[in-house]
């Protein structure tokens, strides 16, 4: 929608071009072609139907009329180089933004911006939970039919920036941004209502999270820009404030006794935190063909939000976590062309994230068996890690505009921590080799073909243990830690068979092969991805151009685990072949049938399917996951008629259709719909079709 509301100045300018030699043009015409121009656009539009998807981020959700108001005010004093700009977008809608800039180019400048972004939850909650949006919820004790409730969050940000050029090629920049995010979003609490058992039922309650966040970012940089040396140093700060530290929930079901989720109150909400960074970044050109860069930064992030009162907190833990994470970063690179045909690049990066949060015993009962027979450490768990990245690349020019490139990338992670319910390894390493052949500067066909092979490995997996010290499964190598071999091929071709036609083809395929824990064949197995696309642009004339594109994206991932059927010897291996298959295409036509008329039309269609291909031996009829399909079709049309050079009218039309069979919350089979223990259900219209028609006028001046 928003795209249609924007008034493209460049297009308007094109509409005003007079094809006459310069010497025959008057001052006004030259001014029109060479000086900044201001434009306002105003009008109204009508949305044909209620919807949840089309209006998710722009507020165009409810059938009815909406205002269209965009403004571009651009003034420049040519003698002083002073600019005054006001850019306003979607001022008649909920996703409005407006920016004011005043600057003397090459001397000073400041800007103020307001930006509003709504996000409507695409599912409607039918709920009897009261107090939504606050930190005090009332949840029914028995299943209760409620009323439709629309969850929503909205961000409103104000930003200010100031810059000043100083003598000696220095420039000072200051920035500040305050964002308020308010509303509520889906959240919940739940638990199994009994001892561990595959037949233990659960209790689940709908407890929307109140969102009353303030985030602030601010900083200052001092830049030096010389011919060979450029340096930037500065400070960046960020602060997060949450007006609610805990969610207090009254009511809820007490079925399950000690296991009932109603025991779970208060629930912590995100704590206030802040981070402060000092950084220095520089680049130096040693010779016209050799340049080095360096960045160093040090960040201190702290979290000392006061703990909220609880009944079971442990003596001696203090009034807050005292969280502190210090991160040091050094990154440097060197690029050189020692021979006219040879280019070299070397890059190294080191990051040390040191979590210095003090460790306390937060749960003195942790060493005793809990309801589920588990024991814990009772300690908080700061995590630190160090990463090293390095890269070397060389390229050599060959005849006929070919270039051959070879590169090696290396990444190393070093982590603290111990295994718990998942596997853990202290270090991982990944090395990648890349070879590429590229052709540029040719008139008809240019392109690239590349091959990358990467190999990830690491230290041994630490042994997970139960409370009694027995090994705890040790079957799964987590996807981000597992050994992995990856091969990737990428091909891109730009082809201009005839002058008005250009064609672009891109193909990439990758294959992943994951390693497993010793003696296990569970966890992620193999993966692959394929992306194909073809784009074409045909220029009929200066006035008419057509575009078309097609994309096919496929990802596959096989993984395996064991069914949850204690005692363990009854567990059975099951597998899934996860597939995500997407087909999308688009077509557009833009033209100018007369000097006074511009038209444009655009069609996009996406069809995306998730397939699960689940294979289970026992209870195969229960363990099923139907494919999920999404379809999105969007047709847009605009027509603009210039009544005079500087004013005219515009018509916009949008058709948007969203369709799905998603079963996450509700499906075609009511018995399978998710119903919270308190009676809450979430629903969505599975086929949403809207029409939007906008009619507006524009006026331009200089």
């Amino acid at each position: 929608m928003k795209q249609r509301n924007i008034f493209h100045l460049s297009t308007i300018a094109a509409a005003l071009i007079i094809t006459m030699p310069l010497e025959t043009l008057g001052d006004d015409t030259i001014k029109q072609m060479t000086k900044p121009q201001s434009t306002i656009q105003f009008g109204a539009g009508y949305l044909s139907d209620d919807n949840a998807r089309f209006g998710q981020f722009n507020g165009l959700r409810d059938e009815g009329a909406y205002g269209i108001f965009n403004v571009d005010i651009l003034r420049r004093n040519d003698d002083s180089g002073t600019w005054f700009k006001i850019i306003g977008r979607n001022l008649g809608l909920q996703n409005r933004e407006i920016r004011l800039e005043h600057s003397k180019q090459g001397n000073w400048g400041y800007s103020i911006e307001f930006n509003q972004t709504p996000r409507y939850e695409p599912f409607t909650a039918i709920t009897a939970v009261e107090g939504i949006g606050s930190s005090q919820l009332e949840v029914p004790t028995t299943p209760t039919t409620g009323n439709p409730t629309q969850l929503k969050t909205e961000r409103e940000a104000i930003s200010v920036g100031i810059n000043k050029l100083l003598p000696g090629n220095f420039e000072l920049n200051l920035h500040f941004r305050n964002e308020e995010k308010d509303g509520s979003r889906i959240f919940g609490r739940g638990n199994r209502l009994g001892a561990p058992s595959p037949t233990a039922v659960g209790g689940f309650e709908f407890t929307p999270e109140p969102i009353n966040f303030t985030t602030r970012q601010f900083g200052a940089t001092l830049d030096y820009t010389g011919k060979d040396l450029q340096v930037t140093g500065g400070y960046h700060g960020s602060i997060f404030l949450n007006k609610n530290s805990a969610l207090h929930i009254n009511g809820g079901s007490d079925v399950g006794g000690a296991y009932a989720p109603s025991n779970f109150s208060p629930i912590a909400l995100p704590p206030d935190n802040q981070a402060h960074q000092a950084f220095l970044s520089g680049g130096y050109s040693f010779t016209p063909t050799t340049r080095g860069t360096l960045k160093a930064s040090y960040t201190r992030a702290t979290q000392s939000d006061s703990f909220f009162p609880t009944q079971l907190s442990t003596p001696g833990i203090g009034s807050n976590l005292g969280g502190q994470v210090d991160t040091a970063l050094v990154q440097s690179s060197l690029t050189a062309r020692p021979l006219p045909k040879l280019s070299l690049l070397a890059n190294a990066r080191f990051e040390d994230r040191d979590d210095k949060t003090p460790v306390f015993l937060y749960n003195p009962m942790a060493l005793e068996l809990d309801f589920n027979g588990n024991r814990w450490s009772g300690l908080n768990q700061p995590r630190s890690f160090r990463t090293w990245n390095s890269k070397f690349e060389s390229s050599y020019a060959l005849p006929m505009n070919f270039r051959i490139i070879g590169g090696i990338d290396y990444e190393h992670w070093d982590r603290t921590g111990l295994p718990a319910t998942t596997g853990h390894r202290s270090t991982t390493d990944e090395i990648s080799y890349r070879a590429e052949l590229r052709r540029t500067l040719a008139e008809t066909v240019t392109g690239t073909i590349s091959y990358i092979h990467s190999d990830r490995f690491g230290s041994h997996f630490l042994t997970n243990r139960t409370a009694t010290g027995d090994p705890f499964f040790n079957f799964i190598a987590p996807i981000n830690l597992a050994d992995r071999k990856r091969d990737k091929v990428r091909l891109s071709i730009n082809w201009e068979p005839i002058d008005p036609l250009s064609v672009q083809v891109m193909i990439d395929e990758s294959w992943d092969n994951y390693g497993h824990r010793a003696g296990s064949d569970l966890g992620v197995q193999k993966g692959s991805a394929r992306n194909y696309s073809i784009d074409a642009v045909y220029t009929f004339s200066e006035a008419w151009q057509a575009t078309g594109w097609f994309s096919r994206n496929e990802t596959f991932l096989d993984q395996a685990s064991l069914t949850p059927a204690p005692p363990r010897q009854l567990q059975e291996r099951w597998t899934v072949g996860l597939e995500n298959i997407s087909t999308a295409f688009g077509a557009g036509l833009n033209g100018k049938p007369t000097d006074k008329i511009d038209v444009g039309t655009n069609l996009e269609y996406s069809d995306i399917t998730d397939k699960f291909n689940q294979s289970v031996i026992t209870n195969a009829q229960t363990y099923t996951a139907p494919n999920i399909n999404f379809q999105l079709a969007r047709f847009r049309l605009f027509a603009r008629y210039a009544i005079q050079r500087n004013y005219g009218i515009r018509l916009d039309y949008i058709l948007d259709h969203f369709k799905t069979n998603e079963w996450t919350w509700n499906s075609n089979i009511p018995a399978q719909n998710w119903v919270y223990t308190d009676g809450t259900q979430l629903t969505q219209d599975r086929s949403q079709l809207i029409n939007f028609v906008g009619f507006s006028a524009y006026y331009s001046w200089q």
Binding site: Q37, S238, N474
Partner: protein, 319 residues
């Protein structure tokens, strides 16, 4: 909406009205300057010395150039701006002397340019090498032979890639996979121009991976999702390591930009202990791992919990 922001808006409205008034009124200063015919003839049409070029390159030319006068490059009061077209296109003597045949200028930037991309980019870097472009030469864009003019329109009144609504279209000229992903049901508001590529990536290179604007993936995500930063009493390790282990920020079919739907996502790491290894099902006891929020129906504090109360939190994130 907070009172402060409402106040801010109220202050902005008069500014808008004032600006409209200022903008519509005649530009007396500019007019007086243009009335000085002698100065104007000396200055050229759009740059300080462009007469040699604008005598031919008007808007009827195959290569119209006058719109550069509307840009910052065409702001001649700023002494840093190019003196003439030759500042970027070279002396171009053959081009200027041509009569029947017209060789190209010394340096061109269009699709049929014969100049190496390094040479073309160096013209821009001569003035634009500092600040946010400090790391350009070591960036993947530079090393994949990306010309500055592949993304930027120097002569256009509005450079498309610097317009938040149009920017993604420029990036999608190469990044086709992301073009498809932004139409998935779980997405950032990229189509609406409220989140754009350059909010997260610095296309000119950075010290972070994938040209992130901050020093790491997580630091970049925290710019807008600071509530996930912690640290918490109970931390979920992959959250601190890299948000992209679980999320694909460009768009997914699973809710909340998750790469894979629950329970399969969680089972890519978690051991097959009782309930946490169930296959997906829409019926029976283990539908709680698949439907609604899936595993997060119970483990609701998946990014970490700061609850000092000492039960059902360590490693289970229920409170």
């Amino acid at each position: 909406m907070s009172r402060q922001i409402k106040k801010g808006l109220l202050h902005l409205l008069p500014m808008l009205v004032l600006a409209l008034a200022l903008g519509i009124s005649p530009n007396s200063e500019a007019k007086s300057a243009s009335e000085d015919a002698d100065d104007e003839s000396e200055r050229g049409i759009v740059l300080r010395k462009d007469r040699e070029c604008t005598d031919c390159h008007d808007e009827s030319s195959e290569y119209p150039i006058l719109a550069i006068g509307k840009t910052k490059h065409g702001t001649t009061a700023d002494s840093r701006t190019p003196d003439s077209c030759k500042s970027c296109h070279g002396e171009s003597n053959d081009h200027l002397d041509g009569e029947t045949t017209m060789p190209m200028p010394s340096i061109t930037f269009g699709k049929n340019s014969k100049n190496p991309i390094d040479e073309r980019n160096q013209i821009c870097l001569n003035c634009h090498q500092g600040g946010k472009r400090m790391h350009w030469l070591s960036s993947t864009h530079a090393n994949r032979d990306t010309a500055c003019t592949a993304c930027h329109q120097i002569h256009a009144a509005q450079d498309k890639v610097r317009d938040r609504i149009a920017q993604a279209e420029v990036c999608f000229a190469c990044h086709k996979e992301q073009r498809a992903q932004i139409n998935r049901p779980s997405r950032h508001p990229i189509r609406e121009g409220k989140v754009v590529c350059s909010d997260c990536h610095n296309p000119h290179g950075s010290a972070g991976p994938s040209k992130m604007i901050r020093d790491s993936v997580n630091e970049t995500c925290f710019s807008c999702h600071m509530e996930k930063r912690g640290p918490f009493i109970y931390n979920h390790p992959p959250v601190q390591e890299n948000c992209a282990i679980c999320h694909n920020p460009h768009g997914t079919t699973a809710p909340n930009l998750l790469k894979v739907r629950s329970p399969f996502l969680c089972e890519q790491c978690h051991e097959p202990n009782t309930h946490q290894s169930s296959p997906a099902t829409l019926t029976g006891y283990y539908r709680r791992n698949t439907l609604a929020r899936g595993c997060m129906n119970c483990h609701t504090q998946i990014h970490g919990s700061n609850n000092p109360e000492n039960i059902r939190n360590e490693e289970v994130f229920q409170r």
